[in-house]
Amino acid sequence: MIAFAQIQLGCGETAVCMRCHPERAVSMFPAEQVVAAVGRAAAEWGAGPGPNVSFVGAEPFAHPALVRLVNAAVQAGCERIRLRTDGGALFVGGNAAGVVQAGVRHVELVLLAGDSVTHDGLADRPGLFEAAISGAGAFTEAARVVGEHVSVTGLVRVCRHNAPHLSSAVLALAKAGAVSVLVERAEGFMLPSATLAEALRVATVAGVALHGDGVSPFSAEPWTVREVAV
């Protein structure tokens, strides 16, 4: 329906399970490379709503040239600019208002669980859960103040460590204003169908569209993703 071109900002995804990835290394791609990828994504955009880009691959607020990258997307004619973030930086200072002002209209919030003890423990980042929830609120409030429409969506990466927390993570994202949640299974991990079914029930009752591998066919594909090499 609505496609986003995924642009990698670097390596070392944001808010991952540190028990699965104890040696996670983070590195950022040079701004020029990312800007070039944005340009290609916009230039090659076909029919349908867009161009739309989603910055993924590393925590965007950790990229030293985030403002420049967002500006490049605006200049390239992108209509929808999304940041995949752990949300921690959104609540800091004027970051939320700043990204709205710069042109970001979408935030994809990554959670590992629906409570601070589990989430912060798995991410090995004390205080991250509360900051993420507050950050999502700050983003929507910043947009409301300037009269802009924005969306918050969610991502839950499920592995053997947090599978029992999938439903609570979905609920927390719903409370943070997410309209959809993507469920991404860790490589090789078989998510029990009962866990997924329960998460789908919780999501539907909370008014959230759950999508991802193996989720009900009517919940799949609210938007598609096009990978763009950096």
Partner: protein
Amino acid sequence: MSAAQERLVVALVGVSTPGYRSLANAYLRESIKSDIRLPETWITTPDFDTATDPWWIAYQILDLDPAPDVVGFSVVCWNARSVFEAVRVIKAVRPQTYVVVGGPEVGPLAEDSLAEQPGIDAVVRGEGEFALPDLVYSLVRGGSPGSTPGVTAREGGRVESGPSRPEIENLDDVASPYPPGVAIPTDGSAYLETYRGCPHACAYCYEGKGSTRIRSFSWDRIASDIERVASEPGMRSISFIDPVFNLTTDRLRRLSDLLAPWADKGLRLHTIEVDIERIDDEQAALLVRAGVVSVETGPQTVGTAALAECRRSLDPSRFLAGVAACKRAGISVECDLIIGLPGDTAEDALSGMRFAFDADPGKVQMSSLHVLPGTDLWVRAEELGLVFDDRPPHELIQTKDMSFGDLRRLEVLGNAASTVYRARLTPVTKGLNL
């Protein structure tokens, strides 16, 4: 109220979507005021929105001074629960108040409404501009409300129905809701209509009511209503409630001629209902000249079975050409989809979403079917396998082809996709950046 009263106080209460005022009540107010049999009638038309607590509505009606002898409500599926609750409280406090209701939620179900709502005394069936003054006159002279044409009313312990009233033949006989010299209560916008009826007869819609007959106001009347509304100080926009604003190119041209001088002064028309498949560059230019900034249209569904069941047609290429013509002209388009039409599967609903978003109209609005009284689907619900809430707003529960769970998941998916679609940079907002 007493058996016969020379002078009546009438309150016509609007309970509308936030930001709107009841056009129906303005028509009814002027119809009563212009009726020479009712010179002593005093009328007030308080407006509330659907978010207002019904007890608060009742409080304000009961607090009116002088206290109303007759309280009228125009009832649609969206406000019915509020209205019924407010009526219950009003009657509990002042049982002598005569409560009359009309509108699509109660008109087609007059006897049922009286049976289910003991606080209601009378129901006006169909158009009210002549039926309501007749009913009020009957109350003034102590006559029999239940024998009034177009009215069903309590008479003693019984319910009586007057004969049906034909549709108003000459709409110019209906008093204008905007008489000269009377200030228009407005937040900068007002409703107008240029005709009644619809050239289509969609099975889920009350507007068509199985007939495709159109009754138009005269051009003189249309011109004077536009002049009256547009010249009101502070008026910034007009919403036309015509089911199809671009009925024909000739008609659109005449409307455009009438509206262009006001559009040049900044008056704008928002969310005008159009038949998008008729819009080419010529029609789009006429819409712009008339001040139109946004239009609303279907397709409601792309499923062939549902289209046939609902007596609708869709030519996808003409639809897309119409959207493109509007966009070239700078007109924003809202595409509407109804989830759960009979004949549609969940896959059809997804195809409809893909079609609407691929058209990139500007806004996509999705809602589940409401099975409304008086519509073809209401009558045929059982045969079609539609299970719906019999209490207003009559939400769909499930269909033969879509389970309860499918419908709810499609609703949340539709909401998510619309939200993501709508959150975007526009040429205006792009100016904010950098």
